[in-house]
Every structure is written in C-alpha cells, then in structure tokens.
Point group: C2
Chain length 273, copies 2
C-alpha cells in the first residue's frame, strides 16, 4: 500500500489471517567476512533466511520485508549498491515488497531483515505439536551450505555448494503443502543444523527422538547448518502420503516419550531430553 518514503509502511493483512513476523541478522565476524563476501548474494541470503522462518510456521504468505544495513565509512561505496540491488532482485523473485528500512553508518557491517507474512490460524504449525510415535522427517539439503562456506573460505566463488550457502531455498511451498494437507503435527526450520532443530522440536513438544538416519545423512548432519530446510513430524499412518506429496522428504527418526528416550540413554546419540 505505502512503501518507503513515509515514516512507516502500510500493508494489508487479509481477513481471517494472522500476522506472522520474524527478524534475523547477518553480522560481520559472525556470519560472514568481507574478504569472501559478495554483497549482492548476501542480500539474497538475508532475505531467504527470513522467508525460511516464515515457512517454518506453516502455510505463510509473505507480506513484505523491512531491512537495515550498517556500513563503515571506509567500506567501498559499491557494497551498499550491490546489497540494495541484490535485495531488490531477490525480493522481486519471491514477489515480496520491500516496505522500508535504513542504511546507516556503523563501525562494522551488519544487516537485519524483518519478514512479515500472513496465514490462516488453522495453517500455522508450531514446534510444539509433535506426539509420541510421530515420525520425524526432513525436507531439503543437509550439509551443502556448510561445504559451501568451507569452499568460500578456501577462495572458491562459484559452484553448487557456494550457491547453497549464499542462496538457500526457503521451503515456502513445502511448508504450505505440509500445513494445508494437515500432515505436519510440528514444524521447524533447520537453520542451526539438523540435530539442533530436532532437539528444539523435541524440547518444545516435551519428547525425545529415536534416530534412524542413514549413515550418509548422519555424517552430513554432524557438520551442517545454514541449509534452511524443514524438519517436521507426521503421524505414522501419514508417512506414505508425505512421501507422495513431498518426494524429497527423508526420515530422521521417531518421537519418543521422555521416559522411553531416557531408558535408551546408554546407546548414545539417540535422544534429546
């Protein structure tokens, strides 16, 4: 409705929908180093990691984004231009209006983006909905972004892993299918790594996890992070339907009650409490 150019932006939220909001940052030293950063691609990543957080809530339609960036006085002028161009092109790709934001002077580079979305309450899937016996499943790559980061640090600038690091694919469509079909009983994205996401989902649902990951996935999950896939739970009877609807979904394990998980403690990595 009203974008940058006034004190604040105006947007419509459809009747019967709730507002979904999230905010995430990329900061120099924590998330990137200037010597291997392409600021156009950094803008893509900043947008996508926030869209991934919207997807992690279910069938969420993006409404718009607000962006802030701090540039040190000694930063090359073109960085800000590349960042803004990258943001505009990726926002257009995902059909998300840029509602506003700020460029300011800062001692070190930082970038913050807020993503706003809308969803019908019945299509929201929380982290806390898993039940004992539910199958834990994943969607999207594991470990590709971490490998891309290693390649970037080693001086590589292209290829599919570097692309996976800079341009993760937010799983908005998979999340929509999972939520609208009613299949997912809980949902989270795996931004901090697959194991960490499983742990958070289990915690929020008051359960443990009994893992049954294949060896290759298990190895990949030991050094992953920033893949921005999804982790969800489905009822056992719905597993075959899930595999049909989302052919790329893979099985991670089964949700256990804490008591059963605790009983299996000696066997190692097979649960969180």
């Amino acid at each position: 409705m009203l974008g940058p150019g006034d004190d604040a932006a105006l947007s419509r939220v459809k009747p019967g929908h709730v507002l979904v909001s999230t905010q995430d940052d990329l900061a120099e030293g924590a998330h990137f180093e200037t010597r291997w950063t392409d600021f156009r691609r950094l803008a893509h990543k900043l947008l996508r990691i926030n869209l991934s957080d919207l997807a992690a809530m279910g069938a969420v339609e993006p409404v718009g984004v607000l962006v802030s960036a701090g540039f040190p006085p000694q930063a090359p002028q073109r960085w800000a231009g590349e960042f803004l161009e990258g943001l505009a092109e990726d926002a257009a790709r995902f059909k998300v209006p840029v509602l506003g934001g700020n460029l300011c002077r800062a001692r070190k580079l930082f970038f913050t983006l807020t993503a706003l979305g809308q969803a019908r309450p019945k299509n929201i899937v929380k982290r806390s909905g898993a039940r004992a016996g539910d199958i834990l499943a994943g969607v999207g790559p594991i470990g590709d972004a971490a490998r891309g980061l290693a390649e970037l640090k080693a001086g590589k600038t292209g290829g599919r892993f570097v692309k996976a690091f800079w341009e993760p694919q937010p799983q908005l469509e998979a999340a929509r299918v999972l939520a609208e079909s009613g299949l997912a009983t809980s949902l989270i994205d795996n931004s901090d790594g697959l194991m960490r996401s499983c742990e958070l989902l289990a915690q929020e649902s008051g359960l443990g996890v009994r893992f049954s990951l294949g060896r290759l996935l298990w190895q990949a999950a030991q050094a992953d992070g920033e893949d921005y896939g999804l982790v969800c739970t489905v009822r056992p009877k719905d597993w075959s339907r899930l595999e049909k609807i989302l052919p790329g979904a893979y099985r991670i394990g089964v949700m256990w009650t804490e008591r059963r998980a605790a009983a299996r403690k000696p066997s190692g990595f097979d649960h969180f409490r």
Copy 2:
C-alpha cells in the same frame, strides 16, 4: 498470540485495520559510543524512536516489536542483560509485546528494532497531504536531545536533557488526537531535526514553507535532532482548535506553493523547494 520461542511470532491485526511497520537502528559510532552509553537506556531509546515512527503515521496502536542486537565477544556480559531488561521494562511501560528477535555476535555493537502497529486507514496521515495555506505546526521539545548528547559527551549522566536524549517521548497520543480529529492534513516526526522534517514534508507535499518561528525556537532548531516530536499541517481555520486540543503545539510557518516560495528566495532560510 505466540511470542519468542517459535520460528516466528503471531499477532492479530484488528478487522478494518492496516498493518503499519517501521524499522530503525542504533549503531556504535553513528548513534552512540560505549564510553557514555547506559544499555538499559539505549533499549528505551531504540523502542521509542520506532514508536515515534508509528506515531508519525497518525492514530496507530502498537502491535508488537522485534529486536536484534549484535555484541562483540569482548563486550561485558552485563551489557546484553541491561539491554534486555531495559527493553522489557519500557515495552511493558508502553504495553507493547516483544514478539521476538535475536542476540548475535558482531564485531561492533548494533541494535535494530522493528515496530508493528495497526490503524484504521482513515486515521493514517501521510507526509504528502499538506496544501498551500496550511499552517505548519510542531509538537514536543526542540533541541533538548541535542543538548543532552552534548552533556553526555562531557561526562554528565543525569538531568532532564540527558533524559531527553535517551528517553524521548513518542507522541502516540498527540498523533492519535491529530488524526482522529481530522485536523492534521500531513504529519511527520522530527527525528532528523525540525528543519529537515519541514523540508521532507514540504517536498512530499510539493510545496514550500514560509517560516514564522520565534527567535528562541529558531535558534534551538539550528542545533536540534533526535527530539522525536511531531510536525504537522492544519487548515488555517483549524488552528485555534489545534491549540485547544494540543496546548503544547507551536506554530512553525505556512505552506506555500513552490512559485510563491521561489519568489521569496532572496530573504534566506524561509523556504524549501
């Protein structure tokens, strides 16, 4: 509805209301220096400057805020604690829920806050609605925050000017009155200084300004900024009503068509185009 603890937050926007969103930052080196910063008060300021942007849109009711903060590894641990406590206490004071956000590691300190609000479309007042002949008016202090900043840099930590710098009063109530009464034809906040706000409002309305500020206000306005008052325009016939409704309102000048403003150019500071 759902706050921090899931991938994103959920909020309701009332039927018949539009979503109002804004985002603003405080960055080390640009907006503050650690040697004179109280992080509890910085959190107050971060919240209030964003609430001021909501107020600058008219009768806006805050819905919630999202916050991001980056702390360098060498920053004292207590800074993050003070910041979060300060945010929580001021958010409670303004009855605004903290919907979520992030603390991350950064090379230098930065703070970003997004404020979300809701308003009836008829109670939105843009920068662009001023008409030739409208009276330009201000609400709130001028120059207090700038004086407070000078005192802070000189080592002072208390007093009313330091308070004006750290804890500006967002004019949500004055904005509500201006919008709901239908008095204001245009509205902006004066965060970048009174003169700059007048210039922006005039630009957006395609007009010039003929100033009639008293000498004291004129002097104060030469070295102001960060006061977070309001600047608005009202029809000449509504001036006396404005003075009754908002007793603190002061007269800044009159809006002119560009042609008349240009004709007066030789006299100096009396217009913007």
